[in-house]
Amino acid sequence: MSDPHIIENDDHVHKLAKPFLFLMSQKVKRGFIIVPIVGLIISIIFGFIYPLHHPSPIDYAMPGYSWAVIGFVSYAFVVLASHPLFKLLSRKEDYYGEEEMGIEREPDEPVIHVAVEEPHHD
């Protein structure tokens, strides 16, 4: 606690954010997956009720749920492809010798740091 800005309590939460602090609880984070599952099921049901007016061959192959498959596969592919791509393309931040420090600035006012229990980023 050598940093004078670090404090134990969290009185610096904005008053408008206080009713929504539950969003950071582990229970909500773990249960978030329910939202897209339910949404996806409903939208697929509607996909069968309202078939596409201008279907493409993909839509003929997967009538009623084609865009769900495209969305899931595309997203997963992009994210999973980022692992080998990162290994291939990532270098140290000062690789170009210009130091990307231009991206970081002095904040207009000091940032207060509060102690948090959970580790930062998994």
Partner: protein
């Protein structure tokens, strides 16, 4: 007064205000100008344009006849939205006491506005270059580290201008006119040069890196301003000159895909947004390539909403950078506790770019995607359609989820800051309201009224059961993939790194080749110097040995030798005279 305002290109209003800003030492007076000038230009356009084409400001320069003002149903869309963006930018940067930013922002906005209303290619070229020169100061205001990026930005954009001028000269020599019209074709004289010039500015694949290089290094306000004009000006130029040029469909489709992969890996949120910008421009370029009335309507509408929601996203990240001092995902998280209003505005921007129903791009992006299927047959039509859907899922990844999640939610970074300043909140609030109003049932018709072909636009009904259902399938499926990948730990952690892109070729390879060439030249020069020295020394010695008092020429020669030499010269002379005549 109104007649006076509508008598010349409204870009001049902003540029004049920009020059005044450079002279005014009073902060509030400058800020008044920064907001009032685009508002005045907007007023001039609203009052001056009644739906008929306007040609004014025709001036003669030497043998050239320049048309400095041409307003029609295409350019007016860009004109309106550039003015609106100028006002929002002015509000967002209200806190910043910087004469250079105020002045260059106004001149830059004015130049962009001037360019879209240019009736000929010389006027377009002048404004085209002016956008580059005036905007580079916004990058340099990012600090000492942004100097090199600014220089690269300037060099690339000046090159774009030179290509534009070269293309214009070749085109005018062939066609006899400098008018900037839709008669230009890629296969025609100067067409390739013109397309390359526009391609650089719009971020064609392999020409795109200036965006990701310069934008994140600009100042907080500068990035927001930069994101609005340069690339959309190029979209306008492409739509004006190359609508229906098939190659643009494929280029645009590639543009929508490749930035998605880079955006996932990037740690800096403003760089993520720069890749996202590139991806969105791909949709527009693709629509221009399709070229049907519906596609061009979609492009014009997408430009209008994209300028606002992309500004909104850059504003929210700018507010974070302003308060926290960094926009790197690895250093952020949990900021909704400190900046809840900014969080809401960012979520509106994220929903708008992801094309959620009732948010901005839902109407316009759908128009472009639908136009792919409804266009006359072209090679790979369904592949292009699938690529655009793939890219839409990618947009959901980088802008719909990554930006708000890792900044405002995710794991709490423990950083507590003040909410963004009032002026930033006001600008973001107005932009959010715009994103919602133009997508709402009853509201999107306002956008339709601005489109180049409003009658054709009215035939597109975005709020149909199938459209909403399938769009939601795409978005929910992407969200589910995100939640699953997070749950199993397959979603990559945000890490500080430099991700190599094509700019490696000139920032590293090109630089190293130049350094190597320089070193080799230095070494070779040294060797050449030695060899030169030896040669001259040897030659001097030989000459000395031949002509000096002790040399061969000083020795007494037999008289017979002189006689032989004289006779030989006589024979040569006689032969020359003989054959010469």
């Amino acid at each position: 007064m109104i007649d006076l305002l509508t008598a010349f290109n409204p870009g001049f209003i902003l540029m004049f205000a920009g020059v005044l800003c450079a002279l005014f030492p009073v902060h509030y007076l400058r800020k008044f100008l920064v907001i009032a000038a685009p508002a005045l230009a907007l007023l001039a356009l609203i009052i001056g344009y009644n739906g008929d084409e306007i040609i004014k400001g025709v001036v003669g320069v030497g043998d050239l006849t320049l048309t400095t003002l041409r307003i029609d149903n295409l350019s007016i869309v860009w004109g309106y939205i550039f003015c609106v963006a100028g006002i929002l930018n002015g509000i967002f940067g209200f806190h910043e006491k910087c004469r250079i930013t105020d002045s260059s922002a106004l001149i830059y906005t004015g130049a962009a506005l001037g360019a879209v209303f240019a009736g000929d290619m010389v006027t377009l070229f002048v404004f085209w270059e002016l956008t580059a020169i005036s905007s580079v100061f916004l990058i340099w205001k990012g600090g000492r580290e942004s100097y090199a990026a600014g220089m690269r930005y300037l060099a690339i954009h000046v090159l774009s201008g030179v290509l534009l001028l070269a293309g214009a000269v070749v085109y005018s020599r062939s066609s006899g006119t400098l008018d900037f019209t839709s008669d230009i074709t890629l296969a025609g004289p100067g067409g390739l040069l013109l397309m390359l010039a526009m391609g650089i500015k719009v971020g064609f694949p392999l020409m795109h890196n200036w965006m990701q290089d310069a934008y994140p290094k600009s100042s907080v306000t500068g990035t927001v301003i930069l994101s609005a004009f340069t690339t959309k000006l190029a979209v306008y130029a492409l739509a004006r000159a190359f609508a229906g040029e098939e190659v643009l469909i494929y280029i645009g489709a590639v543009m929508t895909i490749f930035p998605v992969f880079f955006a996932v890996m990037e740690n800096d949120m403003r760089k993520v947004l720069a890749y996202s910008l590139n991806n969105q421009l791909g949709f527009m370029v693709c629509g221009i390539g399709i070229g049907t009335a519906m596609a061009i309507n979609g492009v014009a509408g997408q430009v209008a909403v994209h300028i606002i929601f992309k500004s909104l996203l850059f504003m929210s990240m700018g507010a974070v950078l302003y308060r926290v001092g960094t926009a790197k995902a690895s250093e952020l998280g949990g900021l909704f506790k400190s900046m809840p209003i900014t969080t809401v505005f960012c979520l509106v921007g994220a929903a708008s770019i992801s094309a959620f129903p009732f948010f901005a791009a839902f109407v316009t992006k759908s128009m472009i995607i639908a136009s792919v299927l409804e266009a006359p047959h072209f090679a790979g039509q369904y592949v292009i359609f699938a690529m655009l859907l793939f890219a839409s899922a990618g947009v959901m990844e980088h802008s719909g989820i990554k930006i708000p999640y890792f900044t405002f939610f995710s794991h709490d970074s423990g950083k507590r800051v003040k909410e963004a300043p009032w002026n930033m909140l006001l600008a973001m609030g107005l932009a959010s309201a715009f994103c919602i109003v133009v997508a709402a049932p009853g509201g999107y018709q306002l956008l339709y009224a601005l489109m180049p072909d409003p009658e054709q636009a009215a035939k597109f009904h975005p709020y149909t059961g199938d459209h909403i259902a399938f769009q939601m399938q795409l978005l929910f499926a992407a969200m589910l993939a995100f939640a699953l990948l997070k749950k199993i730990g397959a979603y990559p952690a945000e890490r500080r790194a430099q991700i190599l892109d094509f700019d490696w070729t000139y920032r590293k390879l090109g630089k190293n080749v130049a350094v190597w060439t320089g070193q080799m030249w230095t070494r070779m020069s040294a060797h050449l110097s030695i060899l030169r020295g030896k040669f001259f020394k040897s030659a001097a010695n030989r000459l000395y040995n031949f002509f000096s008092p002790a040399g061969a020429m000083s020795e007494s020669a037999p008289s017979g030798l002189a006689a032989v030499m004289t006779a030989s010269m006589l024979v040569i002379t006689l032969l020359m005279i003989y054959f010469g005549t």
